[in-house]
């Protein structure tokens, strides 16, 4: 599969390169898992980026030039992420919105740093992404240490004296989030009953589910992606368990509920306050809906990443990534997510996570509406 896909990618890349060169447009990129288990989120990124490029072009483009979009597929695989990043860098693309999986964003960001590409991730929450002092990275979402804090506080408040299990999928994102949550819990004197890991891509969780049944687990916190979390919920219900599953931002796509069916009811996850409900987003959300797209999860975050870059490039008067980054970190930007400002590392200031709950109809809503907005 990979070799074929690479050839395809190379073809697309060479086409994009030649057309961009002729038309004097600016090519920017979005990269994420367009194929594979995480492709639901790749689609969010792509939808957000396409809409942002269309809207920016309608408003006259950037620096008087039209934007073109290059879509890179990393399949949530670190090796493929690195090769996509090198491809993007070698084409002289100045800016990429991506990636989704932390284990892709982190290795890719190094290729971007060497290749002079500015990377704003809409979705990577692992702290390491901005902690390595790379010049070229920023993010418009929160971090797993903040996310873990919110989950842990919820557990401490509602599950004191009960049995809690923590699972992770051994990926940079999943393990990172599980560790952050565990750290906060343990610090408060709360000891989890079980800390285990599974393989991303596993389908059969019956053994671990029976184990949780034996240990009378009341809540299982999963540091992992939506497909595995969905299967865990489904298999827990099959074994007659009522255990609540709690996870991070990776559950913010309707595909989760299509895996679990009505069993999703009661499942909790943390995410930023619903960007679709913000006043600033109304017009843009309507434009998505007109196309039949629900801009859920990280769709609007990707849109915002594009807006931040476009405004910073316009202000800097160039697309030169180093100069744009300098301007970007100094300013405050008006986006669909509201006003965003960045610190020296590239993290956004003022981030708040809230807890969402799935219902049995396949929808999710803030557990405590109004708190974050």
């Amino acid at each position: 599969m990979t070799p074929l896909k690479l050839i395809g990618l190379a073809l697309v890349a060479s086409l994009a390169l030649s057309t961009a060169a002729f038309a004097q447009d600016i090519t920017i990129a979005v990269a994420g898992p367009m194929t594979g288990g995480e492709s639901a989120f790749g689609r969010q990124l792509k939808n957000g980026a396409e809409q942002a490029v269309a809207d920016l072009n309608d408003a006259g483009g950037v620096l008087g030039k039209k934007l073109r979009l290059f879509v890179g597929d990393d399949a949530c695989d670190p090796k493929q992420a690195r090769s996509v990043a090198e491809k993007i860098a070698s084409q002289g693309i100045p800016f990429v919105a991506g990636h989704y999986c932390s284990s892709s964003s982190i290795p890719a960001s190094e290729a971007y740093a060497d290749g002079n590409v500015l990377e704003i991730t809409p979705a990577t929450t692992n702290p390491l992404f901005t902690e390595r002092n790379l010049w070229n990275v920023a993010r418009v979402c929160g971090r797993d240490d903040q996310q873990g804090q919110v989950s842990a506080e919820y557990i401490l408040k509602n599950y004191q004296g009960k049995n809690v299990a923590i699972l992770n999928d051994k990926t940079t994102y999943g393990k990172g989030l599980a560790d952050e949550t565990k750290k906060v819990l343990n610090k408060a004197g709360f000891q989890e009953k079980m800390f285990e890991s599974y393989n991303k891509g596993d389908k059969d969780f019956s053994a671990i589910v029976s184990r949780m049944k034996r240990d009378n687990i009341d809540l299982v916190f999963v540091g992992g992606y939506h497909q595995e979390a969905g299967l865990i919920v489904r298999q827990m219900r099959d074994q007659g368990m009522k255990t609540v599953l709690m996870a991070g931002d990776a559950l913010a796509d309707k595909e989760f509920a299509s895996i679990t069916g009505p069993a999703a009811a009661g499942t909790l996850f943390t995410f930023g306050p619903d960007p679709r409900k913000k006043a600033a987003a109304k017009m843009i959300v309507d434009r998505f809906k007109a196309k039949g797209v629900d801009p859920e999860g990280y769709t609007l975050y990707t849109y915002a990443a594009m807006q931040v870059w476009a405004q910073a490039a316009a202000k800097a008067g160039t697309t030169d990534p180093m100069k744009v980054m300098k301007v970007l970190k100094a300013g405050t930007w008006d986006t669909v997510l509201g006003k965003l400002a960045f610190d020296e590392k590239g993290d956004i200031k003022a981030i708040d996570y809230v807890i969402y709950k799935w219902d049995d109809k396949g929808n999710y809503a803030e557990l405590d509406p109004g708190k974050g907005t």
């Binding site: 594979g36 053994a207 299967l231």
Partner: protein, 304 residues
């Protein structure tokens, strides 16, 4: 004890699915002496065909679950069998008298072709279906641990046993089975004695594919989703099961599948989930050191 019983159920169901796929590997190896690496992807195709048939039936307004299951089973077996036949015809038959590695490489190529084909035509997303067979039975409830056996688990295990019985009968009792065993021993001699070797080999692929389709459908029903890359991991596990059981032996493949399923489950149940694959493959290595032909395999006479 209850906990042990529950994990035993878990392991048997997982092992049944591995076993169903492993039979396809073992049958082809027995006759042609090659590892059909595209078999995992045939299994994936079977899952997709079951999914598509299911969606068509539901959109036609059919709602009787047993009828749906029966139609889905027959359609996916039939269509996947055609895939198996075409793959043999296109990728293996022209290379049958070539050097030994040629069909193996052709099989790996076929595996890429099939998974890319379904990615292009069906999309890269995971395809879920709502739970079809719901409900279950509480076998024993000791107060704090209830042993649960769900209906879908019963369906998976029963289907596996029935199919295994049918195919064992076919291989050992029918004329076609005799042809198969003859081709397995010596193709030239079998041909001289009037066995249509090409047809027998084709039929072997067809049956292997039909079994893979059943496994694909069970997988879809049990886990509730299919995707275009699921054939790879499942194929590797099933291939391991076939080797563990003794490649070339039908009961061996089933036994190997059950063994892998049980080892994975019990390792996860009593030790660490993290190392379940390590445990399964370590046991494979140990078995192969002491029994190089696998659990039920016969020492092979090198055919040139």
């Amino acid at each position: 004890m209850d906990y042990f019983a529950q994990q035993l159920i878990n392991g048997l169901v997982l092992g049944s699915i591995y076993g169903l796929i492993a039979i396809g590997y073992t049958m082809v190896y027995g006759i042609v002496g090659m590892i059909n690496f595209a078999h995992g992807d045939i299994f994936m195709i079977g899952g997709f065909i079951a999914l598509i048939t299911f969606l068509i039936l539901v959109s036609m307004g059919l709602s009787a679950v047993p009828l749906i299951l029966l139609i889905v089973l027959l359609v996916s077996m039939a269509v996947t069998a055609v895939y198996g036949w075409v793959v043999e015809r296109v990728a293996y038959r022209p290379l049958r008298h070539s050097f030994r590695l040629a069909p193996l490489l052709s099989a790996i190529g076929m595996s890429f072709v099939l998974s890319n084909f379904s990615q292009v035509t069906q999309g890269a997303q995971v395809k879920p279906i709502p739970p079809l067979i719901t409900g279950g039975h509480t076998l024993h409830d000791s107060g704090n641990f209830a042993v649960q056996l769900s209906n879908i688990q019963i369906v998976v295990v029963v289907t596996t046993i029935v199919l295994l019985a049918i195919f064992s009968y076919m291989v050992s009792r029918t004329r076609f089975g005799r042809d198969m065993r003859a081709c397995e021993q010596d193709q030239t001699m079998a041909a001289l004695l009037g066995v249509d070797v090409d047809r027998t080999i084709s039929m072997t692929f067809v049956i292997g594919a039909a079994l893979a389709a059943v496994a694909g459908m069970m997988y879809l029903l049990y886990y509730g989703l299919v995707d275009f890359f699921m054939g790879f991991v499942a194929g590797i596990k099933a291939f391991t099961a076939a080797v563990l059981g003794g490649i070339g032996s039908l009961p061996g493949a089933m036994l190997g599948g059950l063994a892998i399923g049980l080892i994975e489950t019990f390792w996860s149940a009593y030790f660490s989930v993290e190392y379940k694959d390590v445990a399964a493959f370590s046991i494979l290595i140990v078995v192969l050191i002491f029994m190089p032909t696998g659990l039920l395999g016969r020492p092979e006479v090198e055919k040139v």
